[in-house]
Structures are given as structure tokens and as C-alpha cells.
Amino acid sequence: MVIDYSTQLHYVLALLPETVLSVWAMLVLLLDVFQKGERSEASSPGIAWITLLGVLLAAAANLWLLTLREASPAGVIAIDSFRVFSNFLFLLAAALFVLISTRYLEQEHLRLGEIYVLVLLATVGMMIFAGSRDLMVIFLGLELMSVPVYVLTGVNRRSARSAEGALKYFLLGAFSSAFFLFGIAMIYGGTRSTNLTLIAAAIGVDGLGANALVKIGMALLAVGFGFKVAAVPFHMWTPDAYEGAPAPITGFMAAGVKAAAFAAFLRVFLTAFPGLWETWGAMVFWLAILTMVGANLIALVEPNVKRMLAYSSISHAGYLLVALAAASAVGAASFLFYLVVYTLMTMGAFAVLLAVAGPGEEWLDVESYAGLGWRNPMLGVVMTVFLLSLAGFPFTGGFIGKVFILRAAVEKGFVVLAVVLVLASLVSYWYYLRVAWYMWFREATADSPTVPAVPLGLRIALVAAAAAVVLLGVFPGAFLSLAERSAASLMQAPSSVIGLLH
């Protein structure tokens, strides 16, 4: 059916996955409260499976979106394959979170049902953030995503680190949101619109319609996005927040939140500012270089694996910025492909970290991984796959993703960016494989942690994620085409609309 937002129903239909997930979040909250009763007992583990069911329902609703057609490419909620693709990605991150977290929450005596509620709401926020075409709604999505994540970062109230990370994240997040909002105001002042498509039309394909207000507004939006994707120099909260947050939530932040911010970044800049690419392309170019170089150098000497993964996630933001800077169909496709691989390998690595870290996350040092491969081959093998993929080793999804990004950069003539990317990822081999080195080439000592048996749900999630990473490396064809088609829906929008409006 065709959606033209003539009735309220159209909004509900266009936002069906978000609606399903929001309603489900309320349901989970109520269930949890009733189940606990007045004695405020711990939540039942069954709550996790109910949450997972909601994610699956939302995924089905998301698939159904493909049957809809939009009347105008300027509609406030985008109904295109880019949105469907990125929604699946967020739901994947949420599902992986649920599978990973059950074990952790028991281990830390944090059996709180509201954690799942918050994750569901944050996921709704991500979907709105990346799926809307109006800056005001995008801001709404941003905040709906961020506020639950601030809470989640500090959810372990017994941990001082957790509280500190949450506070820093919240204060700096608020700071950057202000910039974001200010940017929206500027752009509205410059173009009289908050709709991405209309902004693009006002600016024009050659960028001549942009005044100083629009340009400054665009830079301020980039600050907001730069903060959420943790690009250098807006990254400083990341190691603290990532280290402080409970490991499953760190994984969710590193994968889901970052993916959402990137998807929104891509949509806003490709839809609203294609005419100003000369300006923001150069901006993103330098952000990418700073991010890749800075993050990789620091990760090189970081002995704490959780912080190393935090810097790793920053460096991957740098690679994704390269794809963004290219601003082409291939760039957008490589971007989507990389986001999927990135989500799988990052959440996978955090899940293994969680299993090793033990109660209170005591075992975060690289030394803790000594001999892990021989003591627990399943964890060792999947972690090795994730690390190799993060480093960009051939036969993994990470390699294909990087080749693909490099290609987009080279096609746009960003040879310097390509060279820096290659150098950065070669440096990254060192710190990723250092962990693998400990797992296989060091004997466990008396101090090494004993890794308890991995629960079935987590085992399934890990093996499936590792298998997917390898499959995306060996047989990426079908998936690459899917990413290409999804990205295409984003690329053709502005030009056709500009013709339509004038």
C-alpha cells in the first residue's frame, strides 16, 4: 500500500516495528512488576526470552515494511530499504545483547527486568534516529536512544566505575546534544525547514543555496554525530563509559548505538547535504584520519582488553568515516556491509570478554587470556575468528568490508585515506593478535581465571556470530548485493526530489 501520511494510521503503519517494540517494552515492564510482586524479588530469567520474542516480532514487522510504498521521498518517516536494513541491524544487536546478558546479570546479581525494557526502548530510539527524514524527529530518536543507554551504563549501582562512566557519558552526551540541537536551529534558520529532503532542495545540487547558517549548522550536526560515533577528538568519553558499563551493555553500545549513529549520520549527510559534499567530505576526511591514527596508536599499548576493545571500536569508527567521506553508492554499500560485520564481531568479542572477566569483571587484563584456547576451545576459536575479523584478515567479513571501503575511497580519489586505512589496520593486527597470542601461545598460570561453562544461549549466539563472520568473508556475494541495493535507496533520493520540488 502507499503511505502518504494523510491519516494517523499511516504513521502507525510506517512506524510498525517501532510501535511493536514500544508496546512490547511496556508489556515486559508490567510483566516484570507483576511477577516480582510486592517483595521485589529478582526477575525471572524467562523475561529475557520474552524480550527476545518481542525483538523477533519487531523483525517480522520490519520485513513487512518492504510491502509499503511511500508517496513522496520527502515523507517524515523514510520507508526505504536502507531503513529496513539498518533496523534489522539494530534488532540484531538487541537480540545478541539479550543472549549475552542473561549470564552476566546472574553473575553480578543484577536480575533486573528493567534492563531489558531499557534496551528495547533504546532500540526504538535507534530505529527512529536512523529512519527519520526530519531533523526534529531525528533528535527525538537520538535522545530516546541515549537516555536509556546512560541509565544502562550505570545500572550496576554497586560499581564505582560504572557510576563514573555513566556520569561522564551523560554530561558529555548532554553537551554534544546541545550542539546537535543548535545545529538544527541554524539549519532551520538557513533553509526554513527541518526536513532533510527539503533542506537538500534548498541547498541545491551545487551547494549554491547554502548560506553561512546552513554550513555552521551542518558542522554542529557533525559534532553531535561525531560524539555518538566516538570520532577523535569527540571520543574521550568512550574508554571510560565502555570500561565502566557492564560488558554486555558495552557491547550493545559499541555495536548498536554506534551503528545507529552512523546510519543516521549517513542518512542526514547524504540526503540533506549532497550539494555541500566538497565541504563536509573534507571535514569527515580529517576526522577519519585523526580517528584511525589516534585510536590505533593508543590501543597498541593498552593492556586492559576491555579498554583495548573500546579503542578498537573508535578505530572502526575511523574506517566507517572513510566510507562516509566517499559519499558514493559503493561507499554507502560498503558502509552497511561493514556495520553488519562490525556488529557481529564486536558483540562477539565482548561476549567472550564477559565469559572470561568473571564476577565483578575482575579479569580484564590480557594476561587473563593465557592458555584460554586450550582450556576452552570453543571460546578460543570464536574469539580468534572475531579478532582476525576485527584486524581485517582475509576469509573474514572484516577483510571484505575493508577492501570494500578501500575501494570506495580509491574510486573517489582519496588515496591518502586509503593508505592511512591500510597502515592503521596493519597496526591494529598487533593489538588484536596479542590477545590471540595469549590464548594459544601462553600457558595458563596459577593466577589465570577459571572460565565457567558457557550457557547454551550464549554458546549458540557466539558460534552463530563467528560462523556468520566467516561466511561473510568467504561467500559475501549475496549479502554485498543486498547492501548495495539497500544503499541505493538512499542515494537516488535527493536528485529525484530536487527535480520534484522545483
Binding site: 574508554p239 553508492a329 577492501v403 578501500l406 593508505v419 597502515l423 601461545f441 559475501p476 556475494g477 548495495e484
Partner: protein, 675 residues
């Protein structure tokens, strides 16, 4: 005449992968059971060799003029660039496949004997099966990305095997060193690959080499840059100056690994890559001069270090570095088939020498183990007179030595001397004076080779035994599973050179009375013909006469005479030197010390490269990460809570620092749009 149809080409690649899967499973499930890996691993490679031979015979019956592409599936199908997982079967890849699977099979069999008692046997067999798989991907891949998959894969296996006995820190460190140095090489490969893509819009060999002569002007800047980056990749993988430093340390791995990966196959990948991209190199005379120059320098430099080493494997390691240098001289002067031919004979005789040294170490280790002696089983100063105890090893290692020293009719005589002769004949065309210098360097290195190899043989097998009587009783010749592969490699080291006897030599009395002919040269003709044509048109035909006059005929006689003379002199000198066991020997002094300490290159690298880099990273880490964050966490632990805590947090400056960084970023981004 029917055309060449490949037979089961994918099985060649997939059989070793299957072997890896089975052995890898065995390593986890039943690491103590050794029957399965002992059978499966050699069988997988042996079967691959059989299929390769079948294909080779079919190809010989109907030599294809253009490479035969075997499509697998579409690997990266995006936009205009389609990268397929496909194999390319042509004369070059076929020859490489035969070497990899053939020599690989022999070394697998030998490993069953050598590693049989090791608790990690299944793991070891899984790794070398995986290595063969990646090596085959490297040589059979039909595009740069597929080749890169193999390129990285063999590197990974190499690190895994260098660090195989990881309980010793030195071994783990050697693996890391190989790893880091190879990253620099990989950088070159990747940059070259993307420059090729940026200029030609394709990455498969067929399209690139067809388009290159039209797209790149002769001696143009772009093609020169591309080939120099490619060569940077080659110096990493093939251990050339300045990136050779990892290979000698890589000897920490098990000896069959040194033979398979660090002598016969993986380290020659760089030579293969230059030969594979010969069309590009032929267009870049400057790059060719650099390739040959680095090769000549490495050949000479490594040979000098080999003169003064006491560890038997270190001598062979530097010898390998030196011989790889010869191969690069070969491909650098434009004699691509000569370089590949030396790659082939070197695979025979160097695998033989390494496996032979493995038999020596195996015997020494066993004997020393029996008496719980702390002596070093690899130090030649602890050996001497071993020929009485290891007669078979002694004979085959002499064959290897004569082959590498270039004595007629052994393999090295034909391959190495062709390279030296070709360097001399390149007295025309751009940069030709340089090539005369290279020729002299190669000649000196050849003499040094004969010297250090004779020294190795005399110190190990001849003279009086420096091993105490108690240990001597426990010295045993290697079992059949080890010496039979040695014997086969010895036979190949004798006849291997006859596969490429130039017509001129065939005409010499006595020296030319051998079966064989210029087969390798003719066999590779379809692969190198584009490069040969460019080379012929731009440089002109190589001058037929060597600087000594008389052409190849006189040269063959002279080089033979030199090799024999050096061996004789070296033998008489080394026999007279009085060696003492390692623990009683004083440290070498003077020039000998300089060579023994390898010209102090490792130390120089440490000061100039390693320390500054680690220092900078640590500084950055401390400045950004460590000082700021750990301070705050510790401050938190001191017990403040609530609002007071909040304000104290705000006042310590950390959040201010973060916010300040954000503001700096804002200003930077605004600068972009305003300026």
C-alpha cells in the same frame, strides 16, 4: 589438437584444507592419538600432488597460450569491479603447484618421523596442511585479492609454526618479529593493489596484464611506483634487505617448517609475485634495477653473515636469504624464467639441507637428552666427525652442498650460474652500469656460498668429534621415514638442474653431455612472453658475450672451476682450524665478531625504529588514557559520594579536559566550513 582442460583443479586446493579440518579436530578431540594425523596430513598433500601431476601432463600435451581460468564463484560482486574466487592455471602456477605439493609432500612424510614424539603432533600437522592450502591459493589465485588471501594465510601459518614451541619465550618473540616485519611488506602489497585498481579499474591478472602495456607508458611514474610497492611486499615475504631480519629468527620453529616454509615455498612467494607481475615490472626499468640491486646486496650481505655463524640452522637461514637474493637478481635483470628456475632447484637442495640438518639436530638432541647434557644441539662447535654415525645424512648433505655451491652437474650449477651470467649479459639498456656491479657482487657471493657451506659440512661431519664419548654412543641415523624423503630430494638436487640446460652448454664437450634441455625456459615462455616482448623492444637483446668474453660457454667452465677451487680451499682451511665445544670457546673477535653478531643490524633497528615507536605510543597512551583516567578511578575509591563527589569530579579537571577536547573539535569543524 585439443586444448588443455583442467582435471579437478579445486581438489588440489581443497584437499589440504580438508586435511587441516580433520587434523585440527583431532588436535582438540584426541591430541594423543597420532595415527590419524600421520596418515591424513601427508595423504592430503600427496593426493593434491598426484592431481597436479595429472594436470601438468595434460598441460604439457596441449600447452595453452593464455592462462586457463577456473571459475569458482563470484566473491565480491559489486558494481563494475567483479572479483571472483577463481583459479588461474598456466605454466607458472602449474610449476609452482608441483613444487609446493611435491616438496610439501616429502616434508610432510619427514615430519611424521621428526615430530612423531611431540605432544602437539596433530596441531602441527593441521598447521602445515593449512599452510599448503594457503600457499596453493597464493600461487593459483587468478587475481590480486585472491593472491593476497594466500599471502596473508601463509604468513599466519608461518607465525603459528615459528611459535609452535611457544613455551620458550625466544620462540614466541621470533614469531612476533616475523609478524611485525611482514606487516610492512603487506602494506606495500595492499597499496600497490589499490593503485592498480585506481588506474586500471580491475584486479584480475588477465585484465590487468592485458591493459597495462597500453595504459602505462614505459618507465612512467605510476607503474614505477606500483612495482616498487609490490616489491616492498616481496621484500617482507621473501626476506630481503631491509626486511630480512625476521627469517633467521624464524628458525626457532621445528626444522621441517624451516625447510617447507622458510626455505622451499613461502619465502619464495615474493619471487613468484615479481614473475607473475612481470608485465608490470618490464614496464618499469627503475624498479627492475632496484629489484636486482636489492637482490645482489642481500645475496652478498647475507653470505658474509653466514660465514661466521655457529648454529647450523642459522647458517642455512642466512644462506636462504642470500639465495633468495639471487632469485631477485634473476627476475630483476629480466630473466624471469631463470629466477623461477633457481626457485625450483633451491626448493630441492635447500629443503634437503634443512631436513639434513634436522636429522643432525634430531641425532644430537637424542644423544644429549640421554645424558641430560646442557649442550646446544644446534651448535656446530659441539659436533664434528658425525659422518661415522650419520652416513646417509652425510652423503645427502654433501650433495646439497655441491648443488648450492654450483658444482657441475648438480642443480645449482645450472640455475645460479645462469642468473650470474644473465646479470653480466645485461650490459645494455637503461641503468646498465649498475648491472655490471651486481654481477661482481653476485660472483663474490657465489664464492662465499661455496665457502660457508663447506665450513658447515666440515665442522659438522668431518674432523675429530667434539662430542664427549658418553654422548657419542647415543648418536643414531634417522629412521627410514626421514631419510627416504632426504634421498628423493638428493636425487632431485642432482638432476633438477638438467631441466633447464641452455643450448650453448649442451654444445660443450663433457659438460654438455647430459640428458635435458632448456625446458623450463620454454615451458614458461607463454607466461613471460609479454614481458619479454616489452623488454626486448625497450632494452634490446641481451649481449651474448659476458664481460670475460667467450659467452656462456667459457663462463660455465670458469664458474665450475671457481666453485671447486673454493670448496677445496675452504675444506683445507677449516680442517686445520681447531674448534672447541661451544661452552669452552671464547667469543669471536674483530671482523669475525662483527659477522657473528650479524653486523649489529638487529641492534640498529632497535635503536632507530622500535624504541622511538613504542616510546611515542606509550607517551600518547599515558597522556590521553592512563594518567587522566586511572587518576579519577583511584580518586573515586577514596570514598567520596553524592553531590560532593560530583562536584569533586567536575573540579578535578577530567571532565573539563574531555569537554575541552570537544570544543577544540567544534572549532576545527567550524573552521572547515567558515574558511
Amino acid at each position: 589438437m585439443h586444448s588443455f582442460e583442467p582435471t579437478l583443479p579445486w581438489l588440489i586446493v581443497l584437499l589440504p584444507l580438508l586435511g587441516f579440518a580433520l587434523n585440527g579436530l583431532a588436535a582438540f578431540v584426541a591430541p594423543t592419538r597420532k595415527a590419524l594425523p600421520a596418515l591424513v596430513a601427508p595423504a592430503a598433500v600427496g593426493l593434491a600432488f598426484v592431481i597436479a601431476v595429472v594436470n601438468f601432463l595434460a598441460m604439457r600435451a596441449a600447452p595453452p597460450l593464455a592462462p586457463v581460468i577456473v571459475q569458482g564463484y563470484s566473491w565480491m560482486p559489486v558494481g563494475s569491479l567483479q572479483i571472483d574466487a577463481a583459479l588461474q592455471l598456466d605454466q607458472l602456477s602449474m610449476l609452482m603447484t608441483l613444487i609446493v605439493t611435491g616438496v610439501g609432500f616429502l616434508i610432510h612424510v619427514y615430519s611424521v618421523g621428526y615430530m612423531g614424539a611431540d605432544p602437539g603432533f596433530a596441531r602441527y600437522m593441521a598447521y602445515i596442511n593449512l599452510f599448503i592450502f594457503f600457499m596453493l591459493v597464493l600461487v593459483l589465485g587468478s587475481s590480486f585479492p585472491v593472491m593476497f588471501v594466500g599471502w596473508e594465510g601463509v604468513g599466519l601459518c608461518s607465525y603459528l609454526l615459528i611459535g609452535f614451541w611457544f613455551t620458550e619465550k625466544a620462540n614466541a618473540d621470533a614469531g612476533k618479529k616475523a609478524f611485525i616485519v611482514n606487516r610492512i611488506g603487506d602494506f606495500g602489497f595492499l597499496v600497490a593493489m589499490f593503485m592498480i585498481f585506481a588506474n586500471l579499474g580491475a584486479l584480475d591478472f588477465a585484465t590487468v596484464f592485458a591493459a597495462a602495456p597500453g595504459a602505462f607508458p614505459y618507465a612512467g611514474a605510476v607503474v614505477t611506483t606500483i612495482t616498487l610497492f609490490l616489491f616492498l611486499g616481496a621484500t617482507g615475504k621473501s626476506a630481503q634487505i631491509p626486511l630480512y631480519i625476521w627469517l633467521p629468527d624464524a628458525m626457532a620453529g621445528p626444522t621441517p617448517v624451516s625447510a617447507l616454509i622458510h626455505a622451499a615455498t613461502m619465502v619464495t612467494a615474493g619471487v613468484y609475485m615479481v614473475a607473475r607481475t612481470s608485465t608490470l615490472f618490464a614496464l618499469a626499468p627503475l624498479s627492475m634495477t632496484v629489484v636486482a640491486g636489492i637482490g645482489a646486496l642481500t645475496a652478498l650481505f647475507a653470505a658474509t653473515i653466514g660465514l661466521a655463524q655457529y648454529d647450523i640452522k642459522k647458517v642455512l637461514a642466512y644462506s636462504t636469504v642470500s639465495q633468495l637474493g639471487y632469485m631477485f637478481i634473476g627476475v630483476g635483470v629480466g630473466a624471469f624464467s631463470a629466477g623461477i628456475f633457481h626457485l625450483m632447484t633451491h626448493a630441492f637442495f635447500k629443503a634437503l639441507l634443512f631436513l639434513g640438518s634436522g636429522a643432525v639436530i634430531h641425532a644430537m638432541h637424542g644423544a644429549l637428552h640421554h645424558t641430560h647434557s646442557k649442550w646446544d644441539a644446534q651448535d656446530m662447535r659441539n659436533m664434528g666427525g658425525l659422518r661415522k654415525h650419520l652416513p646417509i645424512t652425510w652423503v645427502v648433505m654433501w650433495i646439497g652442498t655441491l648443488a648450492i655451491a654450483g658444482v657441475w652437474p648438480f642443480a645449482g650449477f645450472f640455475s645460479k650460474d645462469e642468473i650470474i651470467w644473465q646479470a653480466a649479459a645485461r650490459a645494455v639498456g637503461p641503468f646498465h652500469t649498475w648491472f655490471t656491479v651486481y654481477w661482481v657482487m653476485a660472483l663474490v657471493a657465489a664464492m662465499l656460498t661455496a665457502f660457508y657451506m663447506t665450513r658447515l659440512m666440515i665442522m659438522t661431519f668431518h674432523g675429530v668429534s667434539r662430542l664427549p664419548e658418553a654422548e657419542q654412543q647415543h648418536l643414531h641415523e634417522a629412521p627410514a621415514v626421514m631419510w627416504v624423503p632426504l634421498a628423493i630430494l638428493a636425487a632431485l638436487s642432482v638432476v633438477g638442474g638438467w631441466f633447464n640446460i641452455p643450448e650453448e652448454i649442451k654444445r660443450i664437450p663433457v659438460l654438455g653431455w647430459l640428458p635435458g634441455g632448456p625446458w623450463v625456459h620454454e615451458w614458461l615462455q607463454p607466461v613471460t612472453r609479454t614481458a619479454d616482448a616489452i623488454f626486448g623492444a625497450q632494452v634490446g637483446a641481451l649481449s651474448e658475450a659476458s664481460p670475460l668474453g667467450g659467452g656462456e660457454v667459457a663462463w660455465a667452465v670458469i664458474s665450475f672451476a671457481i666453485a671447486v677451487a673454493v670448496i677445496a680451499i675452504a675444506a683445507s682451511m677449516v680442517l686445520r682450524w681447531q674448534y672447541r665445544p661451544a661452552l669452552e670457546s671464547p667469543e669471536p673477535a674483530g671482523l669475525k665478531r662483527l659477522l657473528w653478531r650479524k653486523w649489529y643490524v638487529d641492534e640498529i633497528y632497535d635503536v632507530l625504529v622500535v624504541r622511538p615507536l613504542v616510546g611515542a605510543s606509550r607517551w600518547l597512551w599515558r597522556w590521553v588514557d592512563d594518567a587522566v583516567i586511572d587518576g579519577s578511578v583511584n580518586g573515586l575509591a577514596s570514598g567520596s559520594r553524592g553531590l560532593g563527589w560530583l562536584s569533586s569530579r567536575l573540579q578535578t579537571g577530567q571532565l573539563n579536559t574531555y569537554a575541552f577536547a570537544v570544543v577544540v573539535g567544534v572549532i576545527l569543524l567550524l573552521a572547515f566550513v567558515v574558511l
